[in-house]
Structures are given as C-alpha cells and as structure tokens.
C-alpha cells in the first residue's frame, strides 16, 4: 500500500482556493454581524413582558435550534424561489446563516442578560434612565463580556458550518474544493489543503475577535480581568 500525494497539481489552482476562502470569510462576516444583531434582538424579545413577542422569539429560537442547517438553507433557497424572488446564492447563504446563528446567539445573549445583577438595573432605574438607555448603557456590554468566549466560538462554528452552502452553489471554500477535486482527481490533497485553509480562517477570526474584545472592553484592557 503506498500513498502518493501530488500537491503541486492541486496547488496550482491557488487562485480558486483563495477566492473560495475569501468568500467563506465574507459569508462569515456578514452572517456574524447580522446574526449578532438578530440574536440580541431575539434575546431582548424573549425577556419582554409582551407574551406575543416573547412567544414569537421562543418559537424562532427553538425551531432553528432543532432543525439541521442544511434544511434551513434549502428552505430559504427554495422558499424564496417559489415566491418568485431571485437572489444570488451568496445572498441566500448569508440570509440562511444569519437566521441560523441568530437563534444560537439569542440563547447565549439571554444567558448574558440573566447574569446581570438585579441591583445594576435598579441603580440605573434610580438614575431615571429609560428602558432603552438601561439596555444600551448598562446591560449590553457587560452581558456581551460575560458570554464573549461562547459567542466567538459560535461565530467560528458558523464559519465552519458555512461549508454546507456549497450545496446551493455559493462559491465558498468547500464548493471550490469540490470543483477542483473533480477536475484534478486529487481529492485527498484538495481536502487537506481546504482543511488547512479552514484552520487559518478560524485563527483569523479568533484574532479578529480578540482585537474586537480589546476595543469593546476598555476596562479589561486596563485591568486584565474579565467582568
């Protein structure tokens, strides 16, 4: 039994790999930003006294968390198509990933909100801050700080999971790999390279979140301790 690896034959397609990696990163970026927004709103919604809003947010979160991502992607893809709406595979992929990661973000943010001591909110109410101001100035950043490691893991996971978007022919990294291996018949080499590229993308994202954390939590920058 001999293993013969021919990387040069595959590596000469590096511009395609690079384009796929960039698209994966773009997918992850947009879905992270939009999903963080959607998830935070859903977490706030689940905590409101309005049972209609709270119920709707709960249904959203539980539906998404209990169905496979690939099925969700197909639902968005074919759902939009059957409504006669034509969007690019990229747009559909961003929408589906956003909906998916938003639900997980909502659960993580809910844990963050619940970790804020009641006294913080009373102190803010005592200072006559409005509900919105309390969320914005008092609750949001400490809540994010408390769950930051869980949040960032979730977003890295989202980037890795975006590989299933190859199924709706979004030209991301895994889709590119599928073309290349069928072209070169060098499947093993191709997916080794792709795996390495995903590791690099993960590291890029983690570095980005580390930098973002420094920006978001100036207290930690000075004192070094998490909240």
């Amino acid at each position: 039994m001999s293993l013969q690896l021919d990387f040069p034959a595959v590596l000469e397609r590096w511009p395609s790999f690079l384009a796929g990696a960039v698209l994966t990163l773009e997918l992850a970026f947009f879905a992270t930003v939009l999903g963080a927004l959607l998830g935070t709103l859903a977490a706030v919604g689940r905590g409101t006294h309005n049972s209609l809003i709270a119920g709707a947010c709960k249904v959203y979160v539980e539906t998404i968390r209990n169905t496979p991502l690939l099925v969700q992607i197909f639902l968005v893809y074919f759902g939009l198509a059957s409504l006669g709406l034509k969007y690019s595979a990229f747009t559909v992929a961003v929408a589906a990933l956003t909906i998916n990661v938003g639900a997980y973000t909502a659960e993580i943010m809910r844990a963050g909100f619940e970790a804020i001591p009641r006294g913080q909110i009373e102190a803010a109410e005592g200072l006559a801050l409005s509900r919105f101001q309390i969320y914005w100035h008092i609750i949001l950043l400490p809540a994010v700080e408390k769950v930051y490691p869980a949040l960032t893991s979730q977003f890295v996971l989202l980037m890795l999971a975006s590989s299933v978007c190859s199924q709706i022919s979004a030209e991301e990294l895994t889709a590119v790999a599928n073309y290349i291996q069928s072209d070169t018949y060098r499947a093993f080499e191709t997916y080794i390279i792709v795996a390495v590229l995903y590791v690099i993308l993960s590291l890029v994202m983690r570095a980005g979140f580390w930098g973002l954390g420094l920006l978001l939590f100036p207290r930690r920058r000075r004192l070094g301790t998490p909240l």
Binding site: P117, G119, E125, L127, L129, P142, R219, L223
Partner: protein, 252 residues
C-alpha cells in the same frame, strides 16, 4: 404633569400605606412625612418593613393601598411619571451598584448626559465637583473594582448627587462595609445633612442615627411603632423600642 410641592408641604409623605408580598403583610398602614431639609431615620428589626417602606418612596415596590406623595408626584398611582419622580429622588443601595464596566467619571456623567441632556464637558465638571464633595477626586478615572467598599459607596453617593435630587434615600448603605470603612461613608452623609439635603435613611447604625436624624421612625411588624426626635432612642416609651435599643444596637 404633577405640580412640585411648595416649601411648606412635606417632600415625602406616606399615608396609610399597605403592602403585602403574597400572604405576608409587610407594610400595614404606614404613615410618616419628611419636611424639606429634614433627616429621617427608619429603624427596626430585620423584616420590620423599613427597607420596603423606603423602596416604596422611589417606587421600587408598588403599594397595595394608601397614598405616597414625593416632590408632588403621586407615587401610589399607576400613571406616575417614573422618570420624573426618579430625577427628583436619589437612592443609594447597600451593595453600591456602581456600573463595573464604566470608570467612576462615566458612572457619574452617564445619567446627567443621558437623562438631562447635559453636555459632556459640563457633566465632567459636575463629576469632579461631586467627587470632591465625597473626597474621591483622585479616583475620577478608576474603575469601581479598584476602589475599596467605602470608596465605592462614596462614589455611588456622588453619582446620585450629580442628578441634583431633592431628596436622597439611603438603604442600609453601610451594612456591607467593614466597621473601619463605615466612618468615611457616614461622614459624607453627615456633611450632606449639614448642607441641608432632605434625607430618608434605613440604618442599623443607632449611634449615627441618634447624632444625625431630626426624627426617628421605629418600625415593628409593618407598622410605625414609635416616632419622635432622636432622643427617643435614649428614652424610648414602648417596650419594643426599649428592647430594640437595649439589645446592643445603641453603640458609641
């Protein structure tokens, strides 16, 4: 919009206030009033209802019955303008509740800027001023966790003062502090009293209450059991207050 009280009316008045938590009757017809510039100390055993009475003034508890008027706001009514009420009332808690992610300066400037629309530079001047008042001007750019408990509580008082309240509520503000740190907080409160601030305080520091309070309200089982000038602490008339001050509560 409710009218602000004229100078002759009390700043805070409770009349026959009722409040239950489930089957437990915490306030059973509580009445007292606080005049402008007056310092009122609420004392009593744990569970006597003194903290609940204080929290009702700022509507952190909704009452079941009775009437509460604070700076002209009908606090017992469901349509009370909470944010207007809380601009007139400052409250300081046992656990300080400084915002841990903000510097002391940001803790203080947040509400004046966000609620009153004060310009940032003006709010920063104000922050410096109130910190001088509590003796913490050098901690302007520190984070709460870098301060001792006593310093955090003084910063919390400064944060409240920056909203220029008409009345200040103190809810056992020294109970979480080591004995050697209570003094610095009590000194700040004494200075406020000397400056004419209207105050209602729940306290276990009987010696302090005796020294600073114009009037004592002793609560027992949800009722105002005995009330009068600070001298009632040394010559109580009811057996309950006699027992309360006699059990080692009256120190210094």
């Amino acid at each position: 919009m409710q009218q602000n009280s004229s100078s002759s009316e009390p700043i805070v008045s409770l009349h026959n206030v009722q409040k239950s938590f489930g089957a437990l009757r915490v306030l059973d017809g509580v009445s007292f009033a606080v005049a402008r510039g007056e310092v009122l100390a609420l004392i009593g055993r744990s569970g006597s209802g003194k903290s609940t009475a204080l929290r009702c003034i700022d509507r952190f508890e909704k009452v079941d019955g009775g009437e509460i008027v604070v700076c002209g706001h009908r606090v017992d009514r469901p349509d009370v303008n909470l944010r207007a009420l809380r601009q007139d009332v400052g409250i300081v808690f046992q656990s300080y509740n400084l915002f841990p992610h903000l510097t002391i300066e940001q803790n203080i400037t947040l509400a004046p800027c966000a609620v009153k629309g004060m310009a940032t530079s003006q709010a920063k001047d104000l922050a410096r001023k109130v910190l001088v008042q509590v003796g913490l001007e050098e901690k302007l750019h520190a984070y709460p966790e870098q301060l001792s408990g006593g310093q955090q509580q003084r910063a919390a008082i400064a944060r409240s003062l920056a909203m220029q309240p008409k009345v200040m509520l103190f809810d056992e503000v020294t109970s979480a502090l080591d004995p050697e740190l209570t003094g610095e907080v009590l000194k700040v409160i004494e200075q406020l009293a000397a400056d004419g601030m209207t105050m209602v305080m729940v306290t276990h520091e009987m010696g302090f209450a005796k020294g600073i309070a114009d009037r004592i309200v002793f609560m027992h089982r949800g009722k105002v059991h005995e009330t009068g000038p600070a001298s009632i602490l040394t010559s109580p008339t009811t057996p309950e207050l006699t027992q309360f001050v006699g059990t080692g509560n009256l120190k210094s």
